[in-house]
């Protein structure tokens, strides 16, 4: 029907209605036509069926909503052994310890200047290998915490003791807290065990940091610990002649004597006191996390060692037999 044939004037409702209806159906038809063109084009150009997914893929990424598992269906807390490479020093660091490492690595921490000063002061007597020991020490500082200013009190006994042994005796710095073997990598454990007793204390679960001839533990215990931590390939306890230690010169007997007096005193209560305090603190900080990673020290451990670039580890020079054992013998 032509538009011109339809008179618009006049109060003829049926005609108006019919007209309105026509316009309406025209609009609907045009809209449908548009849709048809869209689909037609999509099919002709080949992209119409593109966004169809396969059932398998969709299933793989479905959200899981069950207790005890996360949305991927994974059990909580299985990510203990993640490692990452520090962009600054290129070492492989355990992911959960990366932040405190980075803080020191970049020289930003509150203690970084203290460590740096100590290093500078003792740089004459020590080779660079000391830095490993210091890292271990700082790992135990537990300064890396939210608002842990009050820790400075706990630090002071340690600080005063370290002042006694300024010249190159920092390896004895670890006395107070002992070392928690869980936080160390296999290489560090190995190097520690070449210079220290290493027997793990029953109640603190930390390694003894005295010398390899320390009177508190027997050789039997030391052998057992090495077997436990390093596997059957562990080096045997060295004889008096072939002790490989980090370089320290013992220029005279005086510093040694003062050190020995300190050794003789009963250190374990101090150990347990400070370690208990630090353990408690870390517990309150992270109520959900238990700091007891499984030891990756059998085949897993040895294979991971190959990944660690040995070139970045500093070499330890072998020294002639130090007079330590002779002093012990004297005292014993």
């Amino acid at each position: 029907m032509k538009m011109e044939d339809m008179p618009l004037s006049g109060p003829d409702n049926t005609r108006l209605e019919a007209l309105a209806h026509d316009i309406y159906s025209e609009l609907v038809e045009d809209a449908c036509l548009g849709l048809c063109f869209e689909v037609h084009r999509a099919v002709k150009q080949g992209y119409f069926f593109l966004d169809e997914t396969d059932q398998e893929s969709m299933k793989e990424f479905e959200i899981v909503d069950q207790p005890g598992v996360d949305i991927f269906g994974q059990v909580y807390n299985q990510w203990k052994n993640k490692e990452c490479e520090c962009p600054n020093c290129k070492r492989l660091i355990a992911a959960s310890r990366f932040a405190p490492h980075l803080e020191k690595c970049l020289g930003m921490g509150r203690n970084s200047s203290r460590i740096a000063n100590r290093r500078l002061a003792s740089s004459n007597n020590m080779s660079k290998s000391e830095s490993d020991q210091e890292d271990n020490d700082d790992l135990n500082d537990n300064d890396w915490s939210y608002g842990a200013e009050k820790k400075s009190d706990q630090n002071s006994p340690r600080r005063s003791k370290s002042l006694k042994h300024k010249n190159g005796e920092s390896i004895w710095y670890n006395y107070n807290t002992g070392i928690s073997y869980e936080t160390l990598g296999p290489d560090e454990v190995r190097s520690l065990l070449t210079t220290q007793c290493g027997v793990i204390s029953e109640h603190t679960k930390k390694m003894c940091t005295r010398s390899q001839r320390c009177p508190q533990h027997t050789d039997e215990q030391r052998r057992a610990v090495r077997l436990f931590l390093l596997g059957p390939s562990a080096p045997t306890l060295p004889d008096a002649d072939a002790v490989e230690t980090d370089s320290f010169d013992i220029p005279d007997a005086q510093p040694l004597m003062s050190r020995l007096q300190w050794e003789d005193s009963d250190i374990s209560p101090t150990d347990s006191a400070s370690s208990k305090a630090s353990t408690n603190h870390s517990d309150s900080r992270k109520p959900k996390k238990k700091k007891k990673p499984s030891l990756p020290l059998n085949s897993g451990g040895s294979s991971s060692q190959s990944n660690i670039s040995i070139s970045t580890k500093k070499k330890r020079p072998k020294l002639s037999a130090p007079p330590i054992s002779s002093i012990y013998d004297d005292l014993a």
Binding site: K2, M3, L33, G34, F37, H40, R41, K44, Q45, G46, Y47, L50, D51, T53, D54, E56, S57, M58, E60, F61, E62, I63, D65, D70, I71, F72, Q74, Y76, N77, W79, K82, C84, C86, P87, N88, A95, S96, R97, F98, A99, H101, L102, E103, L106, M108, G109, R110, S112, W144, S145, Y146, G147, A148, E149, H281, S284, R285, K286, P287, K288
Partner: protein, 494 residues
């Protein structure tokens, strides 16, 4: 051909007065409907429905005709509509021009602008897609886009902010559509790292991501953060936004140094304008300044500074029946307090340029320009000289928030502290939706941050470092709330 298209398709769509509509009729039957087509070889209109155009094509051997409604080209040999690349280019070009030209006679819109065209794969892409039929489609029940983050040693403050940022829709769209063109020489660009982060989140990997590079970059570029106890999520957010802003370029490729002229994505999304009006009590002259902001820090009841009453003189309880003595504090209460007129007192007289003397004055803060993403920071950590503590007062916050009462434009109605809620249902400018909530559990000395984020329309997830679990809306709204992220509901063209 171009003329043909231009004249009939573009303009007929808009009924330009220059072309009489009356001439668009079938030359054979006179109909103006029935899918009119125009011959592409000569000037001939005919309808499709009655096959008049087919007759013309056969008799004249003019085998191409164009549909006047949608511009599709019909080939009578193939007996189907065909899609020629060159013709489509022309069509697109002409349409774009026509849209730009079109101006409503009453000048209500400046111009329609660009027509939105959806993505279409190229031939090469089609090939690739056909060869690889496995698809990951992001549906509402899909884990893609969600990923845990390993805690690097008390870095939950960083993890919670990363989760909030990666679930900011506009930011996500910006990075996933590869909009960042890096011009930094070294590979220490934080924006590139952010881009990489989005790739990790949408990779489909289930194991948590280790954000060690991000931490390193933020600390090297924001040294004031690292190594101190300022491991506060809010501090980290501001520092991160600052570094991102510095590393972004604005659209012209120039370095974004001037905060007033920057057009980087960070400014587009997060920067708002806070208006500060100081009114001289003597001459009532108002001095106004506008400062940019990335977040609004709100005082809470329970801190050493008094919270109530919300306005001088009045007690602000004449608002929708709410009373400040009973019931929980609401986010809107905090906002009202933030934007209340504050008497500065006789000890803080301001030099008035009108009176040329020192006078007592009233100061009021309002929102001049709201950012697309508004972040509210509830000041829960009190660090005053006498005490350091955490304020755990529960503050209720809504899923949908209307910021109209706190705008500078609504100031007049609140001059005397009277708050009238006249919500205009058609004004969508100031409506916001909650999409992320950062919570802090614990004390000032030792605590842990977690985030609730919204992934699809009404699905919420709890992000606790490496563990992502589904959460209910109730969990979210009942939580304490430390940082609240709201996203504008309706985005306008500029």
């Amino acid at each position: 051909m171009r003329d043909s298209y231009n004249r009939f398709i573009s303009l007929s769509l808009f009924l330009s007065p220059s072309l009489p509509a009356k001439s668009c009729i079938c030359h054979m039957c006179g109909a103006h409907l029935n899918r009119l087509h125009s011959c592409l070889y000569c000037v001939f209109f005919a309808c499709f429905a009655k096959k008049h155009i087919h007759e013309h094509a056969k008799s004249k051997r003019h085998n191409l005709a164009i549909d006047l409604l949608y511009g599709g080209i019909y080939c009578f040999m193939c007996q189907d509509y065909i899609y020629d690349k060159e013709m489509e280019q022309i069509a697109k070009e002409e349409q774009r021009k026509a849209w730009k030209m079109f101006v409503c006679p009453c000048k209500c819109v400046p111009g329609i602008g660009e027509k939105y065209s959806t993505w279409e794969p190229t031939k090469r892409e089609l090939e690739l897609l056909r060869h690889n039929p496995k698809r990951r489609r992001i549906t509402s029940n899909c884990t893609i886009g969600l990923r845990g983050l390993i805690n690097l040693g008390n870095t939950c403050f960083m993890n919670c902010i990363v989760q909030a940022l990666t679930h900011t829709p506009l930011l996500r769209d910006f990075f996933l559509s590869d909009r960042h063109k890096c011009e930094m020489q070294s590979n220490s660009c934080l924006v590139c790292e952010m881009s990489q982060l989005f790739q990790e989140f949408y990779s489909g990997h289930r194991s948590p991501h280790i954000p060690f590079r991000l931490l390193h970059l933020v600390w090297t570029h924001a040294r004031h953060l690292a190594g101190y106890e300022q491991q506060d999520a809010h501090e980290f957010l501001i520092a991160a936004l600052d570094v991102l802003h510095r590393h972004c370029k604005d659209d012209n490729g120039k370095k974004a140094n001037n905060p007033n002229h920057c057009n980087c994505i960070i400014d587009q999304i997060f920067t708002g304008g806070l208006q500060s009006d100081v009114t001289c009590q003597a001459c009532h002259g108002v001095s106004t300044t506008i400062d940019p902001f990335w977040d609004i820090s709100l005082d809470l009841p329970g801190s050493s500074t008094p919270f109530w009453p919300l306005s001088p003189g009045g007690d602000g309880s004449a608002l929708n029946g709410e009373s400040h003595t009973t019931g929980a504090t609401a986010l809107t209460d905090c906002l009202r307090r933030f934007t209340r007129p504050e008497h500065l007192g006789s000890s803080a007289k301001i030099k008035c340029s009108g009176c040329h003397s020192y006078q007592e004055s009233t100061k009021q803060l309002t929102m001049k320009k709201l950012p697309i993403v508004a972040c509210f920071h509830l000041k829960r950590f009190e660090h005053s000289a006498k005490l350091r503590r955490k304020i755990t007062t529960y503050v209720s916050f809504p899923l949908e928030l209307d910021m109209t009462p706190f705008m500078a434009s609504s100031k007049e109605s609140r001059m005397n502290g009277q708050y009238q809620q006249t919500v205009d249902p058609f004004n969508n400018d100031n409506k916001y939706s909650l999409f992320a909530v950062v919570n802090h559990q614990g004390t000032l000395e030792s605590g842990h941050y977690t985030t609730f984020i919204r992934q699809h329309k009404d699905q919420w997830f709890k992000c606790d470092d490496a563990i992502i679990t589904k959460a209910s809306i109730k969990d979210v709204l009942d939580s304490e709330g430390y940082l609240l992220f709201y996203h504008k509901q309706f985005l306008e063209y500029e």
